[in-house]
């Protein structure tokens, strides 16, 4: 069931009031049941994957928490189990050729398509959550609790398919549902939900249809430099609106039932440096990588530059690989690793040799522009249909300049409109927050806000959602 479907939105009209009407103790079971039903609405068979993962992780966690000589062994075993789970489903493209070669060595000749295992939706997300739970248990940050806690932590439907990637200790305590009905949170949830569906239907999907045309294999070879830049920017905006819209809807729906999920995006294209970009883009994945991979590696080397740079490249390549076993994803990650290394080198040199540049306006503009251009460039291999297309587009963008436009005029206008919206997003948020605060200062204003302005904004958002309703679209991050 899609987040931007009528059935889902109508279901929320029933599910949310029932949740608040139930006794507090019953709510967690209710939410668990809903989460199971939600996942089963994609395919009941998919339920086996998180169930098997949770059962293994649950028992391992108990043994790890018990300590003793075998703690490390249990931990490594459980980690291998969770990672193996992910690799088995997610990276068939990597291991199946090896397996097929082995089988051929034994006289079998499996066809390339002999193994067709459907990838359970959201497996990359909940596998990482299960791994974070294991590491937290091992580091005594959390204590093993009931199986239902772990299962609900993984299965909680708003974040199940495409994040945000949450931590056990920030989500599970909220499943006590001790909060009273919180009107402010409810309204914030509605705001996020409406914003999400508008971002998806009005911005991400229309941009996507233009971008798909531009990336069509045969046509892309004849694109000009201008076309390719617009396509890179167009895709950068499409994936941002697509993923941010999902995150907004996930956070919004969770807020409707009184659960606060962590933020996943913070105006990433306003980042001031490559490092800042990763504090704004897919923040919960960045946080996971930083805390469970990058810091542990670098603690060992105490910040020595070469290991730091190598670890940055390696970790970012893994971030790319997390998206799937495609060369384009890895190249995207490696490119971001290079940007981060470049920035770290500059940062080191600047502190040592050019302290006066710390507050330089020119350098601050340079890094802002660099980050934006670099981020858009990296989207090319991520989206390209193959290596040839990616290299042809990148060459055209940076070396073999050709001018003129070959796409329909509306494509460029739509990209520019989306750019303009992205540029004013922080301003809009600030205005809305101020207006909200101002409107809350008197009873009359509060009533107007509650019963006139907010309904008008919501209704307008819903009108746009209805108008741009496209049934057969998916969220890009559903495939990761």
């Amino acid at each position: 069931m899609q987040f931007n479907s009528y059935s889902y939105l109508l279901l929320l009209l029933i599910v949310v009031p029932v949740c608040w009407a139930l006794p507090m103790k019953a709510r967690r079971w209710y939410v668990l049941a809903l989460s199971i039903l939600f996942y089963a609405s994609w395919s009941p068979a998919f339920l086996l994957a998180p169930l098997a993962l949770c059962v293994g992780v649950f028992f391992a966690a108990i043994r790890i928490a018990a300590g003793g000589r075998r703690e490390r062994l249990w931990f490594l075993g459980a980690l291998t189990y969770a990672l193996g789970f992910l690799i088995f489903f997610r990276y068939q493209a990597l291991w199946w050729p090896v397996m097929a070669a082995l089988l051929r060595g034994f006289g079998h000749a499996p066809a390339r398509t002999a193994l067709q295992i459907a990838v359970p939706l959201g497996i990359s997300f909940y596998s990482f959550e299960a791994i974070s739970y294991l590491i937290d248990i091992r580091q005594r940050r959390v204590q093993p609790t009931r199986f239902s806690d772990l299962f609900l932590f993984v299965m909680f439907w708003p974040h199940l398919i495409a994040g945000p990637i949450v931590r056990f200790r920030e989500l599970v305590p909220q499943f006590a549902f001790k909060k009273q009905f919180d009107m402010a949170m409810m309204m914030r949830g509605m705001d996020r939900l409406i914003l999400g569906i508008v971002q998806k239907n009005l911005l991400a999907d229309p941009l996507g249809s233009w971008v798909d045309d531009g990336f069509a294999t045969q046509l892309a070879q004849a694109n000009t430099t201008v076309d390719n830049w617009f396509l890179a920017i167009g895709f950068g905006l499409q994936i941002y609106f697509d993923f941010a819209s999902y995150s907004n809807m996930a956070i919004g729906v969770a807020q409707l039932i009184g659960i606060q999920l962590p933020e996943n995006f913070r105006f990433p294209y306003h980042a001031s440096t490559p490092a800042d970009f990763w504090q704004r883009w897919h923040m919960t994945l960045s946080r996971w990588i930083r805390d469970y991979l990058f810091f542990p590696i670098n603690v060992r080397f105490q910040g020595a530059p070469i290991p730091l740079y190598l670890s940055l490249l390696g970790v970012m390549a893994l971030v790319g690989l997390w998206h799937g076993a495609g060369y384009g994803f890895v190249l995207w990650g490696v490119l971001h690793g290079c940007y981060l290394v470049f920035y770290r080198i500059y940062e080191g040199l600047q502190k040592k040799h050019w302290p006066s540049l710390e507050h330089s306006r020119v350098m601050s503009i340079f890094w802002k522009v660099f980050t934006l251009v670099a981020a858009m460039t990296a989207w090319v291999p991520f989206r390209a249909t193959g290596y040839d297309q990616a290299t042809a587009m990148l060459k055209s963008m940076f070396a073999h300049f050709t001018f003129g436009i070959t796409q329909p005029l509306n494509f460029y206008l739509v990209v520019l409109l989306a750019c303009a919206f992205t540029a004013i997003e922080p301003f809009l948020e600030a205005v809305f927050t101020r207006w909200d605060a101002w409107a809350g200062k008197s009873v009359t204003r509060t009533n107007l806000r509650m019963y006139l302005w907010r309904p008008a904004i919501y209704a307008f958002g819903l009108l746009l959602f209805l108008a741009f309703d496209e049934r057969n679209t998916q969220f890009i991050y559903f495939q990761f």
């Binding site: 390339r112 069509a216 495609g326 070959t406 309904p455 057969n472």
Partner: protein, 402 residues
Amino acid sequence: MPKPLQAAITLGCTVLVLFLLLIARPFLVASNVLDALFGVPPKWTQVEDVYKNPHTQEVTRGDDPVSSLRVLADFWGARPNDTRILFVGNSQMHVISLARGEARPTGTEKTYVDQIANRLAKDSPQIRTYRLSSSGMSYPEVLWELLYMTGKPELHPDAMVLQLNYQAFWTGGIRESLLGLLNDDAFRHQIEAVIGANEAYSAEFQDALHRYDESKSTRNVTNTANNGIAAAFSASKTPGYAIETAVRRVLDRSGLFRGRSDHKNDFVDFLYRCRLYFLRLKPSTARSVSGARLLVSRASVEDAVKLADEKKIQVFLFNAPVNPLVSLYRTPEDKASYQEFVTKLAKENGGPLYDFEDTITAEHWGNLLNGPDPLHMGRAAHAQMAQEMYTKIPLNRVKGTR
């Protein structure tokens, strides 16, 4: 007041405002306000009562060509010995946009193609004409339709009068309404063969095939292109999809819900007007056609002519009239390159290029919102075009070749 009740009232107010917005069509109202502010000519200058006949025209103008071709197949199929002439072009063939000073319409008006058809019917009764025109027609679409028609004996024409227009070279893609032709297995195989042949327009055909398959609910959730061999599962086979289908079926009972796409059209029209009025970017704004778009359009039109030749269809190529007040070419090189291409095409086709580009003088053209219309002509211009074309193109000498 209890807070849950407040939330419920907010929700109720939202539904009420949404209901009002659905009735009021705010984007249409906004467009009308803009039109009034920017001095758009009265609506009646866009003639609504234009002659319609499903036996001689694709009356849906590109909205539902599949059903139109079905009607034509029945009509032509019942007259196998008649000679068939197909007129192919864009909306210039079916729109009358009255010029300044032309009187308000009092009855049904006829475009130049209809007027030629009338004269042919009188002079050569064995000749049947058909106008296959659609708004914003692209040359890949022309090829697509011709591939379909030449595959069906009852639709196979003897001659084709193909409109060449610089503006049409800007356009690409296969419209949604033409995808229905893929229901025909033989045609689908033809399209798949074209895709396999890796022609410049193959990607457009592939995209059309993909959209068709998608509309048949076979879209997969996973992107297999960048995803190795992981099996995809069909979103259309999930229980959630079935629930959504049921919900939509119930919602579709409401006229307001069914009309939701009107709001999209209103919104797109509103943006279009903003583009036109504020950015001054008109569809006729002079531009260069280059790169992929040019490659695709040229290859499509060349192959349409080649296909016609292979199928023994006589082709008459004519350069469409253009409003002298509007310059479609951004540079003189664009004009030279276009003219060189169409002349070469005509030469390869073994016939002359009937050039009507400068035939209609400025005062006979209509207006497109607040500016001169580059494509659509007034009443007198249609009459003049009919006369010129009928005199210059030997249509009454076309013989059956099937």
